[in-house]
Symmetry: C2
């Protein structure tokens, strides 16, 4: 997408008046995106440090053009088809054909034609050479408008990153450009009927062939976008076992299995299909626009990606891309719930405010005047905006990682990777749990009308309910965080994070600042100290009581999430206070004041949830583990 | 249902082996029901004190016969049709015809034929004269097996109670026996398009006719079971305004509007319909088996129930019946989630236990061995069993209230009514919120399989998500509790409750008891003290800051719920410890030990949630109310 290209898309603006009548509506939070990027996270400075291709032409103006153009596409094209995405869903019409909901294919065609898929990939692979962070911003905008639709390009991104990271040059040459252009899409094939979280049980077999290829056989389930009509070819990234592979996770290799084998010129014969077929597509709670396939590999031709038996390690490139994408799912569910709710809460009249009539000319006051409704609205707002800042921080880290890796600075790459490794499970686990909460709150604001399908609040909850499950459940994220990222690394990335919190807060306190700012900085300081003490206490317990780690893990993850979101709210508050001191126009002042107020709300109402978590993460192991499985009930499941 | 009659139903037992294969299954928690009734709440003593009709023949044996017979009906007839209830749902086929899901009509026929509807109604009205508490026990069993189905008899119960409490003898004679037999069903018609929580805005009109009847005109929405094919007639209880009625809630009257006007002998002409038609049935998130109707009253003939302009007061008989029924919805969603999850967690193999291999012959350990999964299972278990005890306490209070009213002891009736009034919003609000949480946890235990419709965990969440909304949202319950039941009554019912907690706990501490029992009794004592202090603090704040009540209300309700559930867990622990001291058989010991362990879990893991609520209920009002409605977002809903 060139600047000129983006500009051409700009005139397509939505007409708010027409949409407001329906109360079901999505608008890009462009102002908030700009605030987080430019004022909280200093995106300009970040971009200037990046010697990425085209990074130099990615300035504030360009970012807002992209936001506006993708926003317009999301609002005008993707949001309107999200309701039929749910009500019509996907239909399987044959062993290798699945029809996506109305408008999916056409809008995907527009997306590909306009070159959005390649926005953040190198020009040598057919991309636009923009930083990856920008791609994550567009992913958020699309995810909020139509999560299911966004999964197709999202999975392709995972496949591209995996191939670019681990595949042979030959495979890259053949597959990456087609994925970058969006002509083909990608999938990740991990889960099998007998195993999801526990990939040690993977059974799919890969038989080596004389020509260096492999024949794959086995059944994979829960394969998102595993079959569809939006692209001519699908590139499956499949975990399987070589004949001589050791048992467990150390005997898993990664293979590329195309739906259709391309000829040398990259064309595919639409009449021929490699040995992959769809057993069924799942009938599920939500995300109906994204077909969840059982894929049957029956001697399908595949090609090894990377090193034999290192497949799970390679797959983590895909898994980490998806985990960040799933964190975005939490953010966007919260943003969507908030947007719908805000329209409704301003419009719906019920009862009088306890503190005096607010709408004397109407039969009642708007429900936004009632404290409990406000608490719900502010919760969704604080979650969305806090989540946005957390996700964008990781997007910037991703840029840094790519830059370090490309520049061959492996020491710096390791540092950034450690930090991302520490933050990813927190974001994936915490933000998806909060996304579910916010979506459910969105129903509550609507009252009975929230339960009605056409108002789409219930769809949002159904769509997001999978987020704390797939790409590793919250329980798995929690063990990854506390076990692998904190304990196994002897608290190194954790200590580094805590040190940064200390230094940020101390600097803030030295600078002075307003009363609230000092109060919140002190809160974060004490919070970091508490976090540190809890971590030591857990480590000490775990030495003699292995299960205590599992007992603490999910509460520890949620606790870490509230601490980390607190830091982001503090940073946003600082940015807003700074802007306020120089802001002149009234409307700008109001934006920053609202930001400061929301920070206040976060610290008063969401942050105190840590208090309970501090207690429950130390539930005595015995209290959880003592009961024998057969004593959980004497009425059933004996 | 006579003893002999119940016995005839007993042979119909389920075959656990056949059901376990599917992992989707429901069994009456009969052992737990018996424990709560007989050992925790001393049901026998309660029944002996009740001079109710047939109360004397309602002993332990009879109760377990009823539990077993209804349980068998629920397991064999209702649970199997709950999946198609969701997937097929209800279909409107004409202005006065809605077809219920497969099997609904037939099983309702069996229910009516076997006389279950009248179990707890006086013999003079065609009932069996059993105490009302017993009816609530059967309602729980049915609700867990098939919530949507249970709504039909549930709404009839509300209609019967309303008519018996407020209607003229003539109306009673004509309608109550048909409702008690189950030949006809009932509805409650409150909500209109412009108002739900705020009934002051009700617009439906009732024009008096020369013959003493009324012509009703207006549109009611969200009318559960408003039209269906399961009974020949439907008795609508409708809120409407008389021509000269004052504005607001003091100008609302209550009317009975039959779908078909019965002739003197009680027969109805199936070809004629009173002026009520169905505008549409709603397409909603869950509860598909229960048709949610828009009912259009177009000069429909109706009859005044009770006093003009006192309709809302009369309707509260219905509303309170429904609120308790909705509390049961929370309980049963939790029970169902737990039952499904327990089967799955024992069967699904994933990874090895951190504390050592538990299933050396299998490829991995059952997930019930992992602490996080156990925490989820124990949460659902503690919620279900705690909720059961809370609901049954109110069922017993209902018996006492009925007895006092029938016996003309209005002073005692007032006392019991005050206590029920205090407990009802806690149960409705808290147990439905926890029911949603438990249903969502049920999905999480299943991982990706929880998102698949055929496994029914996602259906359970969709079905129960309406519970914190209808019959007054959690926000409305919270204002009812804190505003009406605590503050407006000058803390009287609250003080009475706290005094009982004190005296119960002090007595327990005096008696000695085990270490844990003393610890939990102390916890409850300190909890009661804290609850008292919080209440005073809220009252003090509210004097000068009206909105602070609204800010605190939902957190206060949830806090009260955790306190009250704690008291019930303490009582169950006491009962189990007592039984343990005399239990001989190993299997009985195990049941009581599991109960003691679950109490321990409750106090360690769920009860500490009060810590956060104590903080957040005192969020400064300014932090919630300061932001202007137009400043909630600068991107949308301006």
């Amino acid at each position: 997408m060139t600047r000129a290209g983006v500009r051409q898309l700009l005139p397509r603006k939505i007409v708010p008046a027409a949409l407001s009548a329906t109360h079901r509506h999505y608008q890009t939070p462009a102002k908030d995106i700009a605030f987080v990027l430019n004022e909280t996270l200093q995106y300009q400075k970040h971009l200037q440090k990046l010697p990425l291709q085209n990074g130099d032409s990615c300035d504030n103006d360009f970012v807002s053009m992209v936001t506006e153009a993708v926003g317009s596409f999301a609002e005008k094209e993707l949001y309107p088809i999200s309701e039929t995405s749910d009500s019509v869903g996907c239909k399987q019409t044959g062993p290798s054909s699945v029809i996506t909901p109305p408008g999916f294919k056409e809008t995907y065609g527009m997306y590909v034609e306009q070159g959005w898929m390649g926005l953040s990939y190198p020009e040598e692979w057919g991309g636009q050479g923009m930083p990856q962070s920008l791609s994550l911003v567009t992913a958020e905008i699309i995810a909020t408008a139509n999560w299911a639709w966004g999964m197709f390009p999202g999975l392709s991104r995972g496949a591209i990153n995996t191939l670019m990271g681990h595949a042979s040059d030959e495979l890259k040459q053949q597959y990456v450009p087609k994925l970058v252009s969006g002509e083909w899409t990608g999938t990740m094939c991990l889960t099998e009927p007998q195993c999801g979280s526990d990939l040690a049980q993977v059974k799919t077999k890969a038989e080596p062939q004389p020509d260096g290829s492999y024949k794959l056989s086995g059944t994979k389930i829960f394969i998102s976008c595993g079959e569809h009509d939006m692209a001519d070819n699908i590139v499956h990234c499949v975990l399987a076992r070589l004949p001589d592979a050791p048992e467990g996770t150390k005997g898993i290799s990664l293979f590329l299995v195309p739906k259709r084998k391309p000829s040398k010129d990259g064309s595919v014969d639409m009449k021929k299909v490699n040995g992959v077929s769809v057993g069924r597509i799942e009938d599920k709670m939500g995300c109906h626009g994204s077909p969840t396939c059982e894929l049957i590999f029956d001697g399908a031709e595949g090609y090894l990606i990377g090193t034999p038996n290192r497949g799970l390690n390679h797959m983590f490139t895909f898994i980490n891309t998806s985990r960040m994408g799933t964190a975005v799912q939490g953010l966007s569910a919260s943003e969507l719930a908030f947007q719908h709710s805000l329209w409704y809460a301003k419009d719906r009249l019920a009862m009088r405010s306890l503190s005096g009539v607010k709408n004397p000319d109407g039969p009642a006051d708007a429900i936004i005047e009632h404290p409990d409704v406000r608490k719900m609205l502010l919760s969704m707002k604080a979650i969305s905006e806090g989540a946005r800042s957390m996700v964008y921080e990781c997007a910037l880290l991703q840029d840094e990682l790519t830059e370090a890796e490309w520049g061959g600075d492996m020491e710096r790459a390791k540092k950034v990777d450690d930090r991302m490794g520490f933050l990813t499970p927190i974001l994936k686990g915490f933000l998806t749990e909060l996304g579910v909460e916010a979506a459910s709150t969105g129903i509550q604001v609507y009252g009975g009308h929230g339960y009605i399908k056409s108002n789409k609040q219930e769809q949002n909850l159904r769509d997001v309910r999978i987020a704390p499950v797939w790409e590793g459940t919250t329980g798995i994220q929690a063990l990854d965080l506390l076990g692998r990222k904190v304990m196994l690394q002897k608290l190194r990335p954790f200590h580094k994070h805590i040190a940064e919190v200390y230094s940020y807060c101390f600097a803030l306190l030295r600078e002075g600042g307003g009363r609230n700012l000092r109060r919140h900085a002190t809160k974060m300081l004490l919070g970091a100290l508490e976090w540190q003490m809890l971590t030591y206490r857990i480590a000490a317990r775990a030495a003699s009581d292995k299960d205590s780690l599992g007992v603490a893990s999910v509460d520890y993850l949620m606790y870490s999430g509230y601490q980390h979101m607190g830091l982001h709210w503090l940073k946003m508050e600082v940015a807003a206070e700074k802007a306020l001191s120089s802001a002149e126009r009234e409307q700008s002042r109001e934006f920053y004041e609202a930001k400061v107020d929301t920070a206040q709300f976060y610290f008063d109402t969401l942050y105190p949830r840590t208090k309970s978590l501090v207690a429950t993460m130390f539930t005595p192991t015995d209290s959880i583990m003592r009961m024998k499985p057969e004593h959980f009930s004497f009425d059933h499941a004996l």
